[in-house]
């Protein structure tokens, strides 16, 4: 074991970690938004849309993320759409995460008592207002812990996008070990960085959630 290469590598590691954070931040926002639309569509949309969303969820949940990533990154150019690796990664991560969070958000929507909707309608709110102002905030509060876990899982999963040459943390590790010939030590250090990041992310989400959604979030 030798770690003499480490001081010179800190910049690369930090740069990779920053890209990983960017990836997960974009995925969290886009994925949550998409899953709210998906969950709402699955409940209130036309039959065809409902069926399409149900199949989308099944297909994404029963195939590996790596294959989805390759399908998007290598497949789309043959349709004439050429995506930057980082955009392809964001797209794949968002689509993958949404499949899981559609179910989670849906469970939250179902858990809000119907009386809430009825009361809001009785107060004269329009259906869209009822959804956005009454039902959705309560649903998000209920599912917040499950959403948190899914975000952390997605961050760990993002290591895979190094395979399409996105310069995130794992990619930087691959480059470092090729340069230093210290494969084990490099991956050991980077694994620790991932561990710290996942712990920090979880803590950040819990405290942030407590502040934004009120007490009771754990």
């Amino acid at each position: 074991m030798a770690f003499g290469w480490l001081p010179g590598a800190l910049g690369d590691i930090a740069h990779g970690a920053a890209t990983t954070i960017l990836l997960i931040a974009v995925t969290t926002l886009a994925g949550t938004l998409l899953s709210i639309l998906g969950a709402a569509g699955r409940r209130n949309g036309p039959v065809l849309l409902r069926r399409a969303i149900a199949w989308y969820v099944e297909v994404m949940r029963n195939t590996p993320f790596l294959v989805q990533l390759f399908f998007i990154f290598f497949g789309l150019p043959s349709l004439g759409v050429r995506l930057d690796p980082i955009l392809a990664a964001m797209l794949a991560m968002t689509l993958n995460m949404a499949a899981y969070t559609i179910e989670i958000v849906g469970a939250g929507l179902d858990a809000v008592p119907l009386g809430q909707t009825e009361a809001a309608l009785a107060l004269g709110l329009r259906p869209r207002q009822v959804f956005i102002k009454i039902v959705l905030p309560q649903a998000l509060k209920i599912i917040y812990p499950a959403l948190t876990s899914q975000i952390v899982i997605m961050m760990l999963e993002s290591a895979v996008v190094s395979q399409i040459a996105v310069r995130e943390l794992t990619y930087e590790a691959d480059m470092l070990q090729a340069r230093t010939f210290r494969s084990f030590e490099t991956y050991f250090v980077v694994t620790l960085v991932y561990l710290l990041m996942s712990m920090a992310l979880r803590r950040l989400l819990v405290t942030g959630g407590r502040r934004a959604l009120g007490a009771g979030v754990s």
Binding site: N62, T63, P64, S78, S162, T191, Y194, L195
Partner: protein
Amino acid sequence: MIEFTLWDIVRNLLLATRWTVLLSLAAFVGGAVVGMAVLFFRIAKNKWSRRLASGYIALFQGTPLLMQLFLMFFGLPMLGLRIEPWTAAVLGLTFFASAYLAEIWRSGVDALPLGQWDAGASLGLHYLQELRLIILPQAFSITRAPTVGFLVQLIKSTALTSIIGFEELVRTSNAINNATFEPFKVYGLVALIFFLMCFPLTQYARRLEKRAAAH
């Protein structure tokens, strides 16, 4: 460019699927055995044993599987072991699975009323007998749905072993794609094969869940 018929592609993918299946089974069985050991530590009366097991589980659940595979692949040779992708893949996925399975089963043990332990003790059973005859059978039975659910996750996770050079479904498909330049067809077929393996298990897990909820 080599000409591949659809049948050539499908046949080669199906041949590679054997390795995906074998790896999934080996990792599941290995993970169950190691996971049982972790479970024993996790529910032991000794505080340090419980902490150690919690740390083990947190470590595997808090780091990417890809990193775990890399550490296996590059770490074992440092101990003087000659290692091939297959060994690294089986060992890596075994430890990964053990952490998740131990945590799933632990939730089953925790869900049992304490009276079950008391009843066992009052029948004069000692700790291991209590576990074997009373606690574990019930814990396994109520966690059957998440266990099957994890098997699906494990099957999907085998895709990552392609990165450390194990010739399973995804690695074979990369080679075929490089020769045919038909990514939609090749990766679409790979996705289909994974779907056909995972979807029945997902449905089975869902049925188990419904049955458990009905009780």
